[in-house]
Amino acid sequence: MLTKDDLTRYERQILYTDFGENGQKRLKQAHVVVAGLGGLGCSASLYLTCTGIGHVTLIDCDRVELSNLNRQILHYEEDIGEGKSISAARKLAKLNSSIEVTPVVKKITERNAREIIKEANLVIDGMDNFETRFILNRACVAEGIPFIHGGVHGLFGEVTTILPGRTPCLSCIFPEIPHRQVSLPVFGVAPALVAILQVTEAIKLLAGFGSLLTGKMLYFNGNTMDFTFRKLVKNQNCPVCGTKEV
């Protein structure tokens, strides 16, 4: 049920015909896990919070460092040394006190991933490494939870929405997990833009309107300001989702 304050706070998005009060109610009932509170996760959780997702769980095991501040917009100089999920949750609670924000300081592993995400309606990929992305991909497929992948490099970015059992998963494209890479170049605007695209996908998926980035990868090239797509095809021999019914 939407309150009087909800109707005021979200008035401008409720005016959107495809969304309306029913869409807002769906967002209020939703639980989204943001995995990683770096460049992607900060921007994603900011917009999930202001758009009225009822419960946002923030998970990250790292602490804020000075070198994060060019892109991780929920962490300030005074937060250096603090857990990223705690730092982010404090700002988000001030932005929207009507929703529940749960910070979790924990490393996502093969052992705990399914437990962490199992109550969620969807998971936002805010990770900065291959290994944990593939752990989350596997856990989301196993639990049947949508996984909205985003990644950045310099001024490049990519986004796709994975619906377990229905669309290609990350392992359909990359059956072998690449090795960990050293620090990559990133401008703050790249994860901000990709995260906003991820949240756009989340809003449509949860409220049930529009079309999604399923079965295709959207690429953003900030050097040339080009947006391009690649069709993705489900791999029947995929080690993660290949044996599932389509």
């Binding site: 970015g157 494209i173 095809v233």
Partner: protein, 90 residues
Amino acid sequence: MSIQVKLHPILQSLVGGQEVVEVTGHTTGECLENLENRFPVIKQLIRDKQGQLRPYCQILVNSESVYPKELTTPVEDGDQIDIVVFVTGG
């Protein structure tokens, strides 16, 4: 035999912004070699020191992954090869 290689945006920036490059070859490996001979800088990004494809690169033929035969899959006139780079930053 004309094959189109569609480049990931990161690779496009190495070849002057071209998205598609026409190459020749009977396998994905031959086509990639043809591409690398024309644009040696691409080889540095997609291959390791042993000449193997780096794990963060994948090859699609007509949108389908050809793993684990990324370099040995036969291709025919009109096929499209995609070089996909997994961008991992967050």
